[in-house]
């Protein structure tokens, strides 16, 4: 991977972690619709992981 994509990969990972934490903590604080939105954020790491797995599986990239 070139340096730009390396940095992108790291930033993506950091974002996934932060979004998950924000979602989990936000659900505790909020009620009603915001609660639902934070649940979506809490689920995002798993959803994104599943999506990336499918994409990567299709592409069958071998480093």
């Amino acid at each position: 991977m070139n340096p730009g994509r390396r940095l992108q990969a790291l930033m993506l990972m950091a974002l996934v972690v932060i979004v998950g934490i924000v979602g989990i903590v936000g659900m505790l604080v909020m009620e009603g619709l915001p609660d639902l939105l934070f649940f979506v954020l809490a689920m995002l790491p798993l959803v994104l992981g599943g999506w990336r797995w499918m994409i990567a599986g299709r592409a069958r990239q071998i480093s």
Binding site: M1, R6, A9, L10, L12, M13, V16, V17, I18, V19, G20, I21, I24, V25, M27, L28, V29, M30, E31, D35, F39, A42, M43, P45, L46, L48, G49, W51, R52, W53, I55, A56, G57, R60, Q61, I62, S63
Partner: protein, 383 residues
């Protein structure tokens, strides 16, 4: 500096490997017991160990003292240690904790239930410890009592170091192998390594939350003790100098305690539990009353009021210190029981994925040790 061959990388690789390996077995137990505890309400309901009241509401028409009197009559050798109400999980039920007379501690305590509307005892008195109660004792205290909480904190600390060092080890990896790529056809070891890193990255945020809150919960009893010594020392000194009340029959009854504590509470705050005088959590003269808020974060927070058991006055009402607030908020964030079934399913998925990478990480170490020389480790992980 953070490349796969750097000293910083090697230190973190060493930390990640050994903290993970030391914590593997207790962590597997925590994951398995934690999975059941996520669904403790459902499990208790299915096993029929949840006492149900005839009336689902909090019927104030019958004094709570009637319930207390019924428990005393049924267990004449015991005293009331505390009572609690939990309208969300046990509507219409008064939870009464009893212990042998003159026993100040909760170690030998038993939990009884009464129907608030009728004042009658409900539930099976011979039930003993429930399955979820047994698993919680294992999960939170390792059957070692309050000291076991510190063992739990130590395990959480090991896992936290493992997670943080894992992030450092992961950084050069993710620069080389894109997130989500599994190198199939290149041997079982590389496939398992990719799975370990990929799943680890997915659950890292959740794992950090659960581990940090687990660490905080491990200091629960210690923090309460510190608060009693520091924040409550003046009040306790004054209370100890006062004439004690009869702990078995305090002059001010439970209904009066609810009344005065609610009247002096902040708007929207309600009594959650009352500790009777002369226990490890109350003075020889005062009831200790825990109050909870009604919405948002306040639903998860406590404030404390002390009610004079001789006069019915409230000499002290105060919020918890910051460190106890943090520990109180850690409970829902650790067990994931604040967002209904969807959040419980998310917690379960993350727990099982974490269980998998724990076992697969141990396999990776064992497999490398069996096949390779130590000096090849850094090169391989970087691959």
């Amino acid at each position: 500096m953070s490349g796969a061959g750097s000293r910083w990388f090697r230190i973190n690789l060493w930390l990640h490997r050994w903290t993970s390996l030391i914590a593997t077995l207790p962590f597997l137990i925590l994951c398995l017991t934690g999975t059941v505890l996520i669904f403790h309400e459902e499990v208790d309901y299915l096993l029929g160990v949840v006492p149900e009241a005839k009336s689902r509401g909090f019927d104030a028409s019958l004094p709570l003292s009637e319930s207390v009197a019924a428990v005393k009559a049924a267990y004449p050798d015991e005293r009331i240690m505390s009572v609690g109400i939990d309208p969300d999980h046990h509507p219409g039920v008064l939870l009464v904790v009893t212990a042998p007379k003159l026993e100040p501690g909760f170690q030998a305590a038993e939990l009884r239930f009464t129907d608030i509307a009728t004042g009658e005892l409900i539930g099976d008195p011979e039930q003993g410890i429930t399955l979820t109660g047994f698993l919680l004792e294992l999960h939170a205290e390792w059957f070692l009592g309050p000291w076991g909480e510190l063992v739990g904190a130590l395990i959480a600390l090991l896992v936290l170091v493992s997670l943080l060092s894992g992030m450092v080890v992961y950084a050069p990896y993710v620069k080389r192998v894109a997130f989500g790529v599994l190198r199939k056809g290149k041997g079982a070891r590389l496939l398992q390594l990719d799975l370990h890193n990929f799943i680890g990255a997915m659950v890292l945020g959740w794992a950090l939350v659960v581990t940090v809150t687990g660490l905080l919960l491990g200091f629960n009893n210690l923090a309460i003790g510190v608060w009693q010594i520091t924040g409550l020392s003046d009040f306790r000194a004054e209370a100890d100098a006062m004439m004690p009340v009869d702990a078995l029959e305090p002059p001010v009854n439970l209904d009066k305690v609810f009344e005065v504590a609610t009247a002096t509470a902040k708007p929207g705050w309600q009594v959650s539990s009352v500790v009777f005088p002369a226990t490890e959590f109350s003075s020889p003269r005062h009831y200790t009353v825990l109050l909870v808020g009604s919405e948002g974060l306040e639903e998860r927070m406590f404030s404390v009021a002390f009610v004079d058991a001789a006069t019915g006055e409230v000499p002290v009402a105060l919020d918890l210190p910051l460190y106890l607030k943090a520990i109180t908020l850690s409970q829902p964030l650790h067990f994931g029981d604040y967002g209904g079934l969807p959040l419980k399913i998310l917690w379960t998925l993350c727990t099982w994925l974490t269980l998998f990478i724990t076992a697969n990480g141990a396999w990776l170490w064992w497999n490398r040790r069996r096949r390779r020389r130590p000096e090849e480790v850094a090169t391989e992980v970087a691959a």
